[in-house]
């Protein structure tokens, strides 16, 4: 356990508090750079999804985690980014331009959403964002001249600096990774400067923030705009990864998946966004594993406990039927959300912090260190 002795304001301001961090992140970066040449293309494809989900996770972290504005409508911003990409590609706009356009248009619409959201609090804001997402979904399906309605739009491969960047290539992976790293560094810079502190102030006590000279209206709109813009950039990458987009890919369920990223990861730090993204992207392979390998394993276990061959086969069929059921994904999502909210409110990153603290304080660790303050009085819920 290292003790940090700060002698300069730089020690407080810099991003990496001490050399240990530089080493660990350096190693991580090196591993990520080597990955496409060492791992299978399937895993690289999953990593690309992790990068995209993590980017949206960071965006949502800024809005919901740091500024306290709940948003269940981020699939709409992703859709705006994706559709801008597909639409501008039809006019042969070069990649850097339409990438920027995707983010900026999304950001502008985010700012527009931020204005009415100023006066909404708590549950009303959640419902307003849900309504916004549903309206956007419907517009995508109906505005056929632009979005081609329910038939969807094809997304052509990226043409950058004269070369094609196919969606399975290492170059595309590096692009997504690069965007994620830029977004993370930008957000860290934001959070250690006055704007970031203003966001946190708005979350913790709007009245006090107002009295300190923070233009709450302007900062809330900024927060929405930044969050939407980042999601728009992710939307462009998402569109390229899928190579085909249609309105039914941007449902409320996708918005909830993004929220799950920050709930699973922990809604107060950027590590959480990445951890949550990794977890969410692992759900699909997990389901496949359930379908393919688990029924056999269960039957084997039953046989080991002495069940007859027939009984074991019947058990295997039952488990296989359950694992293949259509609704299993939804049930697992539901269970994940409930388990994390009930037992792991600080998310995976919180669990990691608790483990670290356990080893640092051994044997004096106390669970009560992290016990949350529950608010039972209605008047304390308002800020």
């Amino acid at each position: 356990m290292r003790f940090l002795f700060k002698t300069d304001y730089e020690d407080d301001i810099r991003l990496l508090p001490h050399s240990g961090y530089a080493v660990s992140y350096g190693v991580l970066l090196a591993l990520l750079v080597v990955a496409p040449f060492a791992l299978s293309s399937y895993l690289i494809s999953q990593l690309v999804f992790v990068c995209i989900y993590a980017t949206v996770g960071v965006a949502l972290m800024i809005l919901t985690g740091f500024t306290g504005q709940a948003s269940l409508g981020h699939a709409a911003f992703l859709a705006i980014g994706a559709y801008t990409t597909a639409y501008l590609q039809q006019y042969d706009v070069p990649f850097p331009l339409y990438f920027l356009a995707a983010g900026l248009l999304s950001g502008a619409i985010g700012a527009l959403v931020g204005f009415p959201a100023l006066r909404l609090q708590g549950i009303y804001l959640v419902i307003a964002t849900i309504s916004f997402a549903l309206i956007v979904e419907e517009i995508l399906a109906r505005w056929e001249s632009v979005t081609n309605g329910n038939e969807g739009l094809r997304v052509k491969t990226i043409q950058l600096l004269g070369t094609t960047v196919p969606r399975d290539s290492p170059a595309f992976y590096f692009l997504c990774l690069g965007v994620l790293i830029l977004v993370i560094v930008g957000t860290l810079n934001l959070m250690r400067s006055p704007t970031g502190r203003a966001f946190v102030a708005i979350r913790d006590s709007e009245t006090a923030a107002k009295s300190m000279g923070i233009n709450v209206a302007r900062y809330k709109v900024k927060s929405f705009a930044i969050s939407a813009a980042i999601t728009g950039f992710a939307g462009c990458l998402f569109a390229h990864k899928l190579s085909f987009i249609s309105p039914e890919m941007f449902t409320l369920q996708l918005s909830i998946e993004f929220i799950m990223v920050i709930i699973i990861g922990g809604a107060f730090s950027l590590h959480g966004a990445v951890l949550g993204a990794i977890f969410m992207v692992m759900v699909d392979p997990f389901l496949t594993y359930l379908k393919d390998d688990v029924p056999g394993a269960v039957a084997g276990l039953a046989a080991a406990f002495g069940a007859g061959a027939e009984r074991a086969a019947a058990l295997q069929d039952q488990v296989a039927a359950m694992a293949s059921a259509n609704g299993l994904k939804g049930a697992i999502y539901g269970l994940i959300i409930i388990v994390f909210v009930l037992f792991e409110p600080l998310g995976l990153y919180g669990r990691w912090l608790k483990i670290k603290l356990f080893f640092q304080l051994f044997p004096l660790y106390k669970r009560a260190t992290f016990r949350r303050q529950k608010i039972y009085v209605r008047s304390e819920r308002y800020r």
Binding site: R119, I123, Y124, A331
Partner: protein
């Protein structure tokens, strides 16, 4: 003109279903300040249980109805005990996510148990019509309207005239103070969830003749019930039903008079417009912290 009235009645009937779901939201919100996003799915489960009792086991409609309501009330108790009670003091957002998770879970499990096809039940109201002047009104819609009025009146009286109702309102304001005054807050919250689930079950059974029962009906209707509850102000029982009826009428008329696609979006557009003008909802009260 007749068409208009026909659509209006349709809209009111649909709106009553939204209103019943919104009632469930408001009941739980009034007692615990939690918004139960799984309310629509509780309604769906009520419909499924009714199908099992009436359709599969062949019980009489009314017995099946009551049985479904009772089973759902018990289910509400269990859900409250397992999921809501441990997280009662948490930030609102966490509790909302937990109920969303519950909704997902219920939807999927129902799909696995009862399958994903549409199901039908035979009810005494399925086929009758009432003729007034030139109007032909289906009895299934009228039954929904009648039941909603009755339930709304009963619940309003319950909340405002009985001791238990006052206890519920007290615990929603300040749980700690209610504890100190001797109100069994945990039991009160359980009872509210049971009542709310029972109301949802009623809605589910009444709805069966109008739309078929399937596992996604809770999500679709539940999402529309939000504008209803918000318009009504999230704290007012009559408000919830009024909001629901408004939304139902808007949806019905939009479907009839406006081009395609507006039907599903109109309630949300109206909701956003209403929130712009009055962020606390039509019947809601503006709250702020005293500093």
């Amino acid at each position: 003109m007749l068409d208009f009235v026909q659509q209006l009645v349709s809209g009111i009937a649909l709106g009553c279903v939204y209103g019943l779901i919104a009632l469930g939201f408001v009941l739980i919100y009034k007692a615990t300040e939690v918004v139960n996003f799984a309310q629509g799915d509780l309604m769906m489960l009520g419909g499924f249980f009714a199908f099992t009792f009436i359709g599969i086991l062949g019980l009489n409609y009314w017995i099946g109805f009551v049985a479904a309501v009772v089973v759902m009330a018990l289910f509400g108790l269990v859900a409250e005990r397992l999921i809501v009670r441990p997280i009662l003091g948490y930030p609102q957002f966490s509790i909302i996510m937990a109920t969303i998770g519950l909704g997902y879970f219920l939807r999927s499990v129902a799909g696995m148990i009862w399958g994903t096809d549409d199901l039908k039940i035979e009810t005494p109201f399925s086929h009758g019509v009432v003729r007034i002047g030139g109007l032909v009104l289906a009895t299934d819609k009228l039954s929904v309207i009648a039941a909603t009025v009755v339930l709304c009146a009963l619940l309003y009286l319950f909340f405002n005239r009985t001791t238990l109702g006052t206890a519920m309102r007290a615990s929603s304001e300040n749980m700690l103070a209610a504890y100190y005054m001797g109100i069994p807050v945990k039991r009160v919250v359980s009872i509210v969830w049971a009542i709310s689930a029972a109301v949802a079950a009623c809605a589910g059974v009444l709805l069966a003749p109008i739309t078929f029962i399937h596992s996604n009906v809770g999500l679709v209707l539940g999402l529309k019930a939000f504008p209803a509850a918000v318009l009504g102000g999230f704290g007012s029982i009559p408000g919830a039903v009024v909001g629901g009826v408004l939304i139902g009428v808007i949806e019905s008329l939009a479907g009839f008079y406006l081009p395609e696609g507006w039907k599903d979006v109109a309630p949300y557009v109206v909701l956003l417009a209403a929130l712009l003008l009055k962020p606390e909802g039509l019947f809601g009260v503006a709250m702020r912290k005293k500093v």
